[in-house]
Amino acid sequence: MDDSALGLWGVPLAILAGAIRVSTPFIFVSLGETLTERSGRINLGLEGTLVFGAMAAYAVAVMTGSPWAGVGAAMVAGSLFGFVHGFICKFPKVNDIAIGIAMMQFGLGLAFFFGKPFIQPVAPKLPVIPLGFWSHIAQVQAALTINILFVIGLALAVVLWWGLKNTRIGLILRVVGDSSDAARAMGISPDRVRLIATMAGGALAAVGGAYLSLFYPGAWNERISSGQGLMAVALVIFARWNPLGCVAASLLFGGAGALGPALQSVGVSEGYYLFYAAPYVLTLIILIITSSPTRALSGAPAALSLTK
């Protein structure tokens, strides 16, 4: 059986494969942002963290020959960005949304600055799990070749979902996110919890970036991100701050992002750039549907400035 035997069935298959491939960075960034927002703070700077993470991971992978060292470096860098954001935001009169915009520009600038020498070299890629071994159709095999980070992301989502509900750390995070005063009454320092949550969020967002540069598309350049870091923030609202919802929403976004290339692969090339806009349009539509001018969003941490 050759490739063309799949015919138009190739489109949904390509979208499924694309959804899995494209969704992974969304999963990590949105899980990270969920952690941060659950603590009552919003970090809009994850776009910058993601791009810097992509650069750091690629650079370290090139230098050490190990993609996992790259992922580790990205996590360290991401948590440093989170630290700066969290540290600055604890001061009075500082606006966390504006700091996020500034950190976005700062992160992008630093990534382009240090990333220049790494555009040419080739880094080792992250390993994959060939789940499509049972099929003899090349497209199916390609579609089911899943990166380990995707699996880790799924596991992490389940752990976070369970942990937020059932562990002491989850409880502390939720209390801080709902009321600084209640947290203080419990003897918890809201600023410290938010700092740690922002650092964890930054580390996860940087892993999303590492996936971009070390697996798909699998190269470092200045256009590596197409706004995943920002869309993930919108996606968290859609997912109602629920880690499992983040995974579902990420898959949806991944599918939307894969629509254009999938249609192109079967010869529909009309309006390629319009399909390129599909994830943004979808994000916007979802935001419009899920927002409300009158009532607070259900499931939203009460201390979050985003929903006020």
Partner: protein
């Protein structure tokens, strides 16, 4: 708002003793001193923030083994040092004036709009698309007027949409405006690759070129196009609207407390939509000027980051339209010097981005300093009077 914070460090309070006693001795000068003190606070803190930012940036440059002194010299030479480089700075400041207004006007209503890039791109695209069929039949000034209006309309609709979504649907305007910017850029890429493409533009997809006669020229005596004058006028108009009209007054009230403004019966929805439409209109106009004065057509070069630098300009200017003028020239000069720094010091072109990012973070961090320096807060001046006996 009470100033309950402890008085600041000794260093800052030293020069203020003189001001206090002078103010208390001569009551007549007190209102003037208070006015000056309040006005001086943003200026002093902004300058302090810029100094801290440049200091941190110097450490960064030192850390990578280059000389910050040489860099600042080149930055001065490339951006401000000669008439040639100053004109370069002014040319780059022109679009920044307009994109910064796109941030500053909604900010008066408490909205954080960061999608100026999209409005600029769409404004440029709309102007270029309309100019192609109209150019042969219209005299240049009329053509520019039509192009300007259509670009303002396009940009205004784009940012106004983000404003309307905020008011009527509660959609976060920061995220929606940035998403709209991505959509605008995709839309432009689609149109200049397809329906609007000039077949002659091979490597760089563009719309049809404007005839040379229809290009906006330079300001007499300068190598700077008229876009600079348009930007300055737009800033002055915005200042007048905000500071001196009842609309601006209503907007400032709504920006201070949206619910209170609604209870007062102010038309908050119309204010938000009106201000965001005007803001987007200015950014769209910046796109039209880029097309009609620089590029000659709409193409990928419109996505040059003017929208994003404009955000920084607006925040450095503390959303004050008049302050935008010097800040835009300052940042225009820094961007203009990027090439020189790249050539002479072998630093990547992103060096300027790092400096901008550093300045941005520091300026926001310094927001926390407001109200902490006694010298700028006349309400706190009285306290030493009471304790005079102790001293």
């Amino acid at each position: 708002m009470t100033h309950s914070q402890a008085p600041s460090q000794k260093g800052q309070s030293a020069p203020l003793l003189g001001a206090e006693s002078a103010a208390s001795e001569r009551r007549g000068l007190r209102p003037l001193a208070e006015w000056l003190a309040r006005r001086a606070e943003p200026l002093a803190i902004t300058l302090l923030a810029i100094l801290i930012g440049l200091g941190l940036f110097s450490l960064f440059i030192l850390a990578i083994g280059k000389s910050p002194l040489q860099l600042f010299q080149l930055m001065y030479a490339g951006g401000f040092g000669s008439w040639f480089s100053l004109q370069n700075a002014l040319s780059r400041a022109a679009p920044l004036l307009l994109t910064a207004l796109c941030v500053a006007l909604p900010a008066r209503l408490g909205l954080t709009i960061i999608g100026a890039e999209g409005a600029l791109v769409l404004g440029g695209l709309a102007a270029a698309a309309l100019a192609v069929p109209l150019a042969p039949g219209l005299s240049p000034p009329v053509l520019w007027l039509v192009m300007g209006l259509i670009s303002m309309l396009a940009g205004g609709i784009w940012i106004g949409f983000a404003g309307a979504l905020k008011h009527y649907r509660g959609v976060n305007e920061t995220i929606s405006s940035l998403l709209l910017a991505y959509i605008a850029i995709a839309l432009m890429n689609h149109l200049i690759e397809g329906p609007l493409r000039d077949p002659a533009s091979l490597n760089k997809p563009s719309t049809m070129l404007l005839p040379a006669i229809d290009m906006i020229g330079k300001i007499p005596g300068m190598d700077v196009h008229w876009g600079l004058a348009v930007g300055v006028i737009a800033c002055i108009i915005s200042y007048i609207v905000i500071e001196w009209t009842s609309i601006g007054f209503a907007a400032r009230i709504a920006g201070g407390n949206m619910r209170a403004a609604q209870i007062q019966g102010l038309p908050v929805g119309r204010l938000i939509v009106g201000f965001t439409v005007l803001a987007g209109g200015f950014a769209g106009l910046a796109g039209m000027i880029e097309v009609a004065a620089v590029q000659g057509s709409a193409n990928g070069a419109l996505v040059a980051g003017y929208g994003y630098t404009g955000i920084l300009v607006a925040f450095l200017a503390r959303q004050n339209p008049l302050a935008i003028i010097p800040v835009a020239i300052f940042l225009g000069g820094i961007t203009a010097s990027g090439g020189l720094i790249q050539r002479r010091m072998g630093l990547p072109d992103a060096t300027v981005l790092v400096l901008q990012g550093t300045l941005f973070v520091v300026i926001l961090f310094c927001e926390t300093l407001y109200g902490r320096f006694r010298v700028f807060n006349p309400e706190l001046w009285k306290q030493p009077d009471l304790s005079k006996g102790d001293r």
